[in-house]
């Protein structure tokens, strides 16, 4: 029997709901953070004691804190800083880690061995603790946090990419390219890298979350991002004592973080499906 015209349409690709819902959440939060980098409705540090603990109004949608600062502006600004730190961390940690993993996984040999032993060593330290060591050496501040977290994130990316590259290294398609005379660099960046992008994106999404959580944790402890830079973590530690008077300045930064972590978590699950 000849198939009818409509028959083929029924076989639809199943929708990846994790990816879609994660993508939407991430887009919303990222736009919010990017806006915060460049624009806030009020000056995030402007104090106005007449507005102390002001309730939620149209002019101040998240209310005002103990110094009469607009919480909405502060959350925007803090999210912007957080985004900057997380993105910087990923560029350093993810970028260098991926490069290291690609080369050591592909070429093997003693650099691979050394890297793996070093990796075992670093894994012994919890992320945030390692970052704290670097901070205690470098001193606190936005850029030092980026540097510290970036360095701390390198090994995990290197290890992940390495294990993927080892799988692909001996596959037939790589052998074919080699026979056709493709250089090692071409094999690595044009052929292997695109094939491991699913795993890599998934790891980057999780890495972004970890970077945000670590930064917030460090700033909460008071040894991360320093004034005058606003930070979600520091906002929460400052506002914690006034949680009933100005609930907004604790709840909204927390909410932004939850939405973001949720979004990237879903996105990561969607990538690895």
């Amino acid at each position: 029997m000849r198939p009818k015209k409509g028959d083929f349409k029924k076989v639809k690709k199943e929708k990846n709901y994790y990816f879609i819902s994660g993508g939407i959440l991430v887009t919303v939060v990222t736009v919010f953070m990017l806006v915060g980098l460049f624009y806030t409705p009020y000056d995030s540090e402007a104090m106005d004691l007449s507005l102390k603990f002001a309730p939620f109004t149209l002019a101040h949608p998240f209310g005002c804190d103990q110094f009469g600062r607009d919480v909405f502006s502060r959350v925007l600004k803090g999210s912007g800083t957080t985004f900057l730190v997380a993105a910087g961390t990923l560029i350093i940690g993810g970028g260098l880690g991926t490069l290291l993993g690609l080369f050591t996984g592909y070429f093997g040999g003693w650099p691979d061995e050394v890297l793996m032993r070093f990796n075992d060593l670093v894994v012994a330290f919890p992320n945030i603790l390692l970052a704290l060591i670097f901070i205690s050496i470098l001193g606190p501040g936005k850029y030092n946090v980026i540097l510290a977290l970036g360095i701390v994130f390198i090994p995990s990316f290197a290890r992940l990419v390495r294990s993927e590259v080892i799988v692909h290294r001996d596959m037939d398609y790589v052998k074919s390219v080699r026979l056709m005379g493709g250089s090692h660099l071409r094999i690595l960046f044009v052929h292997i890298l695109p094939n491991i992008k699913g795993t890599l994106f998934s790891a980057l999404a999780i890495g972004f979350n970890n970077a945000v959580l670590s930064e917030a944790g460090m700033s909460y402890l008071g040894i991360g991002v320093q004034p005058p830079d606003a930070s979600i973590g520091r906002m929460m530690s400052e506002a914690q004592a006034y949680i009933f008077a100005a609930p907004g300045s604790v709840l909204f930064p927390g909410l932004v973080m939850i939405l973001m972590v949720l979004g990237f978590g879903l996105l990561s699950d969607g990538c690895s499906v």
């Binding site: 919890p126 040894i223 939405l259």
Partner: protein
């Protein structure tokens, strides 16, 4: 036996490098320990004398040897800021962290094993769906925010405990655990969610195995199959996660201490970092890293006991 010896050697080497790295890391910092101890008012001769007393004029590796030897004997040096022996300061702060870590870990086990089994057994059905959604949300809440929420709900609204009213174990054991149970919950919750997620997929994988069908065909009840066959095999891949979770729990306790104003290792660490009190920072870091490495070693051993095949391969 070969497996055990190999793992043990790795443990010793890792511990050695941890101590070496932590020592060297604080050597590269610009600044003079004698200066920070005496303050800028001291004369040059006084500083020179102290430097010699502290052994700072010797080669770095020799200093490391002395430091390691003292550390092994429980002498961790003296705090710059408080001029107290570091070991004493740490011993005083440590119980709170140990209690939090132990309680969170036990809570994680107690919650994630039954729920993970449940979710895996009813995969794709209502209990599983509810758990999966809850998991996604719980995992998204940062530990310290969870801590703030718990303080707010149980402390300020329900008055189950007094925020900031930490009781030392020397005063009352029940008060000590009663207060620390709340930070432990805050730390354990995200770990529970993660544990349930992992155990669920592990259980689903095991349920499809041939031995499960065999076990049923021999007339075992569902509970028997799940508890005595499936659970044991599904826990194997989770062990590594548990070992990593302990490291994470220790790190989270450093932050959660601040939320609940507990004078523990974390508070000491943060203060020492701000004061550039390096002997204290060094000692705490070596201790925590040593603890984590030792736990990983024990988990490796446990693997060997639970799964005898590993011995053959190792």
């Amino acid at each position: 036996m070969k497996y055990l010896i190999k793992k043990f050697c790795t443990l010793i080497i890792t511990l050695f490098f941890i101590s070496l790295l932590s020592f060297l890391a604080f050597q590269v910092i610009p600044g003079d320990a004698a200066l920070s101890k005496l303050g800028t008012g001291a004369t040059e001769q006084k500083r020179e004398k102290l430097r010699r007393e502290m052994g700072l004029d010797r080669p770095v590796l020799e200093q490391y040897g002395i430091w390691l030897k003292n550390f092994g004997q429980g002498n961790m040096g003296e705090s710059y800021t408080y001029s107290l022996p570091v070991s004493e300061m740490i011993r005083e702060k440590m119980p709170a962290n140990l209690a939090i870590t132990a309680m969170s870990f036990l809570m994680m086990l107690a919650v994630s094993i039954p729920l993970g089994l449940l979710a895996g057994r009813y995969a794709g059905r209502i209990p599983d769906r509810i758990l999966t959604v809850c998991n996604q949300f719980v995992m998204a809440v940062p530990g310290f925010f969870m801590g703030i929420l718990i303080t707010c709900v149980f402390g300020l609204a329900l008055h189950w405990f007094t925020p900031g009213g930490y009781v030392s174990y020397q005063e009352s054991w029940s008060g000590f655990f009663g207060y620390l149970i709340f930070p432990s919950i805050a730390i354990a919750l995200p770990k529970c969610a993660m544990g349930v997620k992992l155990l669920r997929s592990s259980v689903i994988g095991e349920l499809g195995q041939d031995y499960v069908r065999t076990a049923y065909s021999r007339g075992n009840s569902q509970a028997q199959v799940l508890l005595s066959h499936v659970l044991k095999n599904s826990l194997l891949p989770i062990l590594t996660f548990w070992a990593l979770a302990i490291a994470d729990i220790v790190a989270s306790s450093v932050i959660l201490e601040q939320v609940f104003t507990i004078p523990g290792l974390g508070t000491l660490l943060v203060q020492s970092i701000s004061n550039r009190d390096y002997p204290v920072v060094q000692a705490i870091i070596v201790l925590i890293a040593g603890l984590v490495v030792t736990i990983n070693f024990l988990v490796d051993l446990l693997y060997g006991i639970i799964d005898p095949r590993i011995e053959l391969r190792g």
